[in-house]
Point group: C2
Chain length 65, copies 2
DNA sequence: TATAAATGTAAAGTAAGCTTGACAACGAAA
DNA sequence: TTTCGTTGTCAAGCTTACTTTACATTTATA
C-alpha cells in the first residue's frame, strides 16, 4: 500500500527518529513504512493521522487487489 | 478500539458469514471484530470502508491512550 | 416445541507488524 | 578528508491479526 508518510513528515520538518519517538514506535518502523516494506497497523495509522492532522485516507492509498 | 461494524453490517441486512465471504476473511474474524476482541489490519479496515461506503474514521473510533 | 440459522468462543497454528541491536551508506558541514 | 546526522537494511525474536476446526449458545421460524 502506497503512503505519503515521508512527504507529511518532511512537511513538518521532522526526522524519522523524531517521528518515531512522537509515535512511540521504533525508527526502523518509520523507515520501513516509508519504503513501503509493510502496511501499518490501524493503530499506527490513526496515530499518524492525528499527528499529521489529516485522515487515514489522505496518508494511505488503498488499491483493492 | 470501538467500531460500528455490527451496525453497518445489519444496515445492509448481511450476516457475519456473508460479510466475511465478501471481505475474504473468516467468519470468526468478523465476530471477534464486532466484539472488540482485537483491532483490524489497515487492509481489512479499508475493505470494510469500501463495502460500507464510508471512511475508516466513520467505522472505527480511535481513542488515544 | 423442535429444528435450523446465526452467533460466540476456545485451542492451536500461521502470517505479518513491530522491536532491539547492529552496521553500512550517504550527505552536509567542519 | 574527517566527522556527524540521517537513513537503509539485516537478523532474530516477540506480539498480534487472522485461520481452521470444532462445539456450544442464542435467535428465528416451521
Amino acid at each position: 500500500m502506497e503512503n505519503l508518510v515521508r512527504e507529511k513528515r518532511m512537511a513538518l520538518g521532522m526526522t524519522q527518529d523524531e517521528l518515531s519517538i512522537r509515535l512511540d514506535v521504533s525508527r526502523q518502523t518509520i523507515s520501513s513504512l516509508e519504503k513501503g516494506r509493510y502496511n501499518p497497523s490501524i493503530t499506527l495509522a490513526f496515530k499518524l493521522s492525528k499527528l499529521f492532522q489529516c485522515t487515514i485516507e489522505e496518508i494511505f492509498i488503498y488499491e483493492e487487489e
